[in-house]
Amino acid sequence: MTALPSTEELAAFRTEVRQWLAKNAPPKPKWKLPDSFMEVGTDEEFEYLQKWQRKVYEAGYLGMTWPKEYGGGGKVAVYQHVVDSEMARARVPFMVNLIGLFWAGPTILRLGSEAQKQRYIPKLLRAEEIWCQGFSEPENGSDLANAQMTAVREGDEYVLHGTKVWTSLGAYAHHMILLARTDKSGPTKYNGLSFFLAPMRVPNVETTPIRKMTGEHGFTETRFDGARIPASCLLGEEGQGWNVALTTLAFERGAEGGQAGGLAMVPLRVSQVVEMAQTVTRDGRPAIEDPVVRDRLVQFAIEERGMELCIHRMRTPALTQPRPFAVPMMAKLVMSEARRRLCAFAVSLQGENAKLYCGDPDAYLDGDFQRAYMNAFSATIGGGSSQIQMNIIGERVLGLAKG
């Protein structure tokens, strides 16, 4: 680790990043950019985003905190924070290999073998190999430990049987992190699970696209029907899969740092909705002139800034007492719920035109907010629904009893 940069060094770095982004931000595509990695549904979307991630990586702006020997930058975290905030500010596209950068990568770096780190990390950063996640199964949406997929060891291989569902990027991924049952005789459902870095492009793995409520495609169902994968894909020890998964979940829920950085989705800012409220009219006058609309917009702005400032406050440990983990644990819940409410509100400002949808030439911003409202549920449902998040926070942060 290098030393902490001075304020001047950081300011200079911020300027450099800003300039780079101004010069290198990808041109707006002709088609509608997905709202997040979970919405990537066509080849052209995928390729455009893959190219963008590679460009960011090659500029040295991704995986900045990861070890140099695996392709990372070996820098302190504050540099990546600067990059991420500048990318949000510049509203450039998100990183397509998000599961690799945020969840699979950190897990491999924490618990993987030296061979695994060398094998997977560099290609992951370069978006050369895309990752997806196989935790949910059709009968077990939230109850991950109840995985029914089986993995049977046969020589140097494991044979997989079962189905994973809600797999974002399932059609493009090279690897899937997944939980499978290697032993059914354990005393509880938590025993006998193993964690694999499973290749997707082997025989007997079949992905079926699932159509989302927006009408678009985005995720898949993945069937493993006797697929054979090398035993070297096992991460950690056989039977210790639940503990590995908990590590991944801690990364996913933001309770642990160590992600490679980059944007997870194009953030929706209150100021964009304000801009719309200044543009569209409600009953003949700009929506922004309605005092009730103003009151609600201000409230959204307060909450947005409150959450943003929480991230800042975390940098001064003395100001995080008595709940140092509250902010990282609550970020996903608060931000995804705020986004859902803000999208719904943004739609409502459009008057009769709120009924238009993407593709209609007269829809405001091509129906961006209408679609974004629907897509907002992917974050309030996926990765542990808001209800599950509240259980977790209530129990782990507030110390309340389990239900």
Partner: protein
Amino acid sequence: MHAATLETPVEIAYSEEETLLMMSASELLAKHSDFAAVRRNLASESGFDAALYQQMAELGWLGLAVPAAHGGAGLPVGALASVAEPMGRHLFASPFLASTLASQLLLAAGNSAQQTTWLPKIVRGEAIGSIAITEPSGSYEIEPVSTQAVETASGFCLAGKKCFVLDAAQAAFVIVSARLLDRSVLLLVDAAQLSGRIRREVLIDETRRSYRLDLHDLTLPRSALLDGGDAPAGLAHLHRVAWLLLAADACGGAEGVLQLTLDYLKTRKQFGKLIGGYQALKHPMVEIMSAIEQGRSLLYHAATAFDRAQPEAEIALRMAKAQLGDTYAHAVDRSIQFHGAIGFTYECHAQLFFRRAQWAQHSFGDSLHHRRHLGTLLWPQPTAAASQAR
């Protein structure tokens, strides 16, 4: 006096005829508008089942509030809620809404010739009528009308655009609002004249079909003018009918999505328990149910009070529209969430209700719009008392 408006006694009075109508409509639609049927219609160009529409005509639904002289049943307008609510409940879309609005506008402002020509055909299901009053601004207000009409030697020449014209591609005629010098007028446009002037809109609600009309340089004969009544009064009546029908649609829809969600919560297990047992899901469902119960009561009161003097009827209608628009919107939002990942799929029926709720909320005034008007109706601003106090 104004606060007293809030204290005016309220009531719900439904005739046996109306409750029977509601029950038979519910039965028919439960049978013919199940989810499979609804999804079949999503894909079709017209969006509706013509045979079923004909059956509705035979049952008299298209003439419920049309006088017997024109072939209708001559019931009060409030009776329309009795069929509109089950339609919402079963996501049923057909030209019923368009034709009913058109026939009510003809009754309010059309002349005898126009009424005699079109009303019997609408009632028999032989012709579909529609209305074109919304403009690109998306305003919920009746005034101002931007579309211009200019008087010519032979009639009128129009300029302007209209949006969300329901079923225009199937309609035999469309009634258009326009401004002629300093007054609003209504003009009946024959379908033949709309050729090349209509574009189907891409709607969030895939059960509906609506179109954008380009009226530029459209010339109409003098006989197109609806001169049997006051046009502004006709438009006000039209809005009131639309509030009732959309509140009823929202009421039925909210109930439909409540049932859909309950069915899921009663069968889906997580962590070994039925998810409906978790308070995080159970309590919001109770709150939604309470809101629906209140909304239904407001709806039936609005139907009862439809023909009352103003502002009583307007207050009742706007309250029902506001409450049910919000309730439906909230119910579908929670339905998606509580279905979990399944709820996020196109396959899950929750999205059908979700999209339809957007239509109900954003047609003819959302809750914020109606609350603003209710405030004005209940407590004119600034109040006399307040002005004196200063």
